[in-house]
Symmetry: C2
C-alpha cells in the first residue's frame, strides 16, 4: 500500500492513521496539548531533527490540524496552534496516555497526573457509549457495514 492512498481508503482508522499515524506526529501533538507552539520549542523539547519537524508541521497544517499564525512581523515569525480539528484529537492522545499509564509504567509511578477543572479531581479518561453511557469494551461491540464501505473493512 502506498501511504498517500491511505487517506482515501474506505476506513476511518486508515484515514486517521494517514494523518497522525507516525511517531513524531504523535509526539508533536503531545507538545501541542502541553501548550508548545513554536518551532524552537518543539525542536528542543523533542530532540527531533529540524528537517523532520519542518516537514511534520507542514503536513499538520495541510491537514487542518494546526494553524500557522504570525506572532511577529519583521522578522516574520509564526507559531503553530491547534484548530478545532486538532483539539478533537484529544481523546486519541489521552487514550494513549492512559494505556501507557496502565501497561507501560515503572516503579516510579505516573509521569503526569490529570486534573479535571470541572470537578477538581485527578481522573482517568474512560471511553463510554454515547447512547447508554456504559463503559465500552471491544467484545460488547458489533460492527456493521455502513454506507461508505467499499471492499475493505474498518
Amino acid at each position: 500500500m502506498k501511504w498517500d492512498m491511505l487517506d482515501e481508503e474506505p476506513c476511518s482508522l486508515s484515514r486517521t492513521v494517514a494523518v497522525v499515524g507516525d511517531r513524531w506526529t504523535l509526539l508533536i501533538l503531545r507538545e501541542c496539548f502541553l501548550r508548545v507552539r513554536r518551532f524552537e520549542a518543539f525542536q528542543s523539547s523533542l530532540q527531533i531533527t529540524r528537517h523532520l519537524l519542518s516537514e511534520r508541521l507542514k503536513k499538520l497544517v495541510r491537514f487542518g490540524i494546526l494553524r500557522r499564525v504570525p506572532y511577529s512581523e519583521a522578522p516574520k515569525r509564526y507559531e503553530y496552534i491547534l484548530t478545532q480539528k486538532g483539539l478533537d484529537l484529544y481523546p486519541i492522545i489521552m487514550a494513549m496516555v492512559h494505556w501507557g499509564d496502565t501497561h507501560m509504567g515503572d516503579e516510579r509511578g505516573r509521569p503526569l497526573l490529570h486534573e479535571h477543572k470541572n470537578c477538581g479531581k485527578l481522573f482517568d479518561p474512560v471511553m463510554v457509549c454515547s447512547e447508554c453511557g456504559e463503559v465500552l469494551h471491544a467484545k460488547q461491540v458489533h460492527v456493521h457495514a455502513g454506507p461508505g464501505r467499499r471492499e475493505v473493512v474498518g
Copy 2:
C-alpha cells in the same frame, strides 16, 4: 532520539507510541479487533509485505499485546490473539475511528457503524472523566507533574 529508548521515556504517551506508534501496527490492530488472527489473513487484507508483517507480529507478541497460539500441530501453525493488554488498546483504536468518521469522511458516509450490544443502539465512543462522568475537553484539563516525572513532560 533513538526509537529503542522511547519506551523508557518518563512519558506515558512516548511509551505507548513506542509500541503502537506506527502505521502498520495500528492497521494490524484494527484487523485484530475485526477478529483476524492468521498470518495469511492479515497479509491479504492489508497488502502489507510479508517481511514487515512478520516483524510487526513479533514485536506485538514481544510487548505482550498478542499471544501466538498454536491452532494446528503437524504442520505447526499459529494464530495471533489479543491479550488483555491488547484488548485494552480498544479505546485508542475507537478514538481514531471516531476522529476519522468526524473529520475525514467523504460524501458516501461512514465505512462502518458500531452497535453496542448492551443497549442495542448505534453509538459513538465518547471520552469522559472517571470521577464526574462529564465529557472531556482538552481545555478543562490541568496537567500536574506526577511521581514518575523526570525532566521531560508528557
